[in-house]
């Protein structure tokens, strides 16, 4: 193990910050740690109180975006995380009534409500309008990927869809790989 002084002998300060961060609050003990926490708490509150509505909004929207990205990337499927759930979160963060939001993207409020409540799939035009509404902060591709994950799960676990379509297929391959 090396001390900070050893590292200083090897590298310039610029090079050090490109490779290291040294132990932080864990190295503060007893009264020092307590004082640090109190001062930080006070500072944190002061800065937070000064935040504008836009800063709050950006923070919440980024939180939602990263949650969506992580969900898409994850190999797990969560039935509570469907397209309408994320759309509802987006509308809630913007503090819009669903009816007003439907107007903003020129969609029938009933259609929007059905999508949110999982009674209907979104059309492509809604997905494109979401990209435009969010000023490309939530691109269409992101929404399509949520939908794709939802569809993949349905196809894996809802065989009924396949069964229902069987009668429409008049001829099929006779062998299976």
């Amino acid at each position: 193990m090396k001390s900070f002084k050893d590292i200083q002998k090897e590298f310039t300060p610029k090079e050090i910050v490109e490779s290291f961060i040294f132990s932080g609050t864990k190295s503060l003990k007893g009264k020092d740690r307590e004082n640090f926490m109190n001062e930080f708490r006070e500072h944190r509150k002061k800065v937070s109180d000064s935040y504008s509505g836009t800063t709050e909004l950006i923070s919440q929207l980024l939180q939602l975006k990263f949650q969506i990205e992580d969900y898409i990337k994850s190999t797990q499927f969560n039935k509570d995380f469907y397209f309408g759930y994320f759309l509802n979160e987006y509308i809630s963060i913007l503090n819009r009534k669903k009816k007003d939001f439907a107007q903003e993207i020129e969609v029938d409020p009933a259609e929007l409500s059905q999508i949110i409540n999982k009674h209907r799939k979104p059309t492509e035009k809604i997905i494109f309008r979401l990209e435009i509404h969010s000023n490309r902060n939530f691109p269409a591709l992101l929404w399509f990927k949520v939908l794709e994950k939802e569809r993949a799960y349905e196809l894996m676990y809802n065989r009924q869809i396949i069964e229902e379509e069987k009668e429409h297929v008049k001829r099929k391959l006779e062998f299976s790989f």
Partner: protein, 168 residues
């Protein structure tokens, strides 16, 4: 996110993942490449590794310390960070490893509802350099016996770092 080859300028996609128990063993054995800190001491903590998407070799390590709402702090602290020996200094092979790890910490700080707040406790000699390299702001705290205070990335600066490293 990507890191850059210092010689060719080629860019490589990276992945940041939680360190597994097996990884801790690998790092412990690999004392030549991670020679500055005893990472085994952080086995119970939240430690992440950075690697190229196409390769399993660990290129950087970072320990995060969470200060949840009940502490009144609502932030993530970068407790420790180390880049592998071949990627340090003048002759480093890849550039941007520490930056990618710090940007990942900012992303996590948004993800967990801390409005992007990330902080670290600097060595006093490094204060202006953390500021130049990543945009950290120095906050000297009167009550701390150590004169360094701390350095933070609050919401705005955290967003800037996310942009710089292509996370938004």
């Amino acid at each position: 996110m990507e890191v850059e080859d210092s010689k060719t300028g080629g860019r490589y996609e990276i992945m940041i993942e939680r360190l597994t128990l097996n990884d801790f063993k690998i790092v412990k054995k690999d004392k030549i490449r991670f020679d500055s800190f005893n990472w085994s001491k952080y086995r119970e903590q939240e430690v992440y590794k950075l690697r190229l998407t196409e390769c399993q070799e660990i290129l950087g390590l970072m320990c995060l310390n969470e200060f949840p709402p009940e502490t009144g702090i609502n932030a993530l602290e970068i407790e420790l960070l180390e880049v592998s020996v071949e990627n340090r200094g003048n002759n480093k092979r890849l550039q941007g490893i520490a930056g990618c790890l710090i940007a990942f910490a900012c992303r996590e700080a948004f993800n967990r509802g801390y409005k992007g707040w990330v902080f670290l406790i600097p060595k006093s000699e490094l204060i202006e350099h953390y500021s130049k390299a990543y945009g950290f702001v120095h906050i000297p705290l009167r009550a701390v016996a150590r004169p360094e205070g701390f350095m933070e990335l609050e919401t705005g600066r955290s967003v800037q770092l996310l942009k710089k490293y292509g996370l938004i």
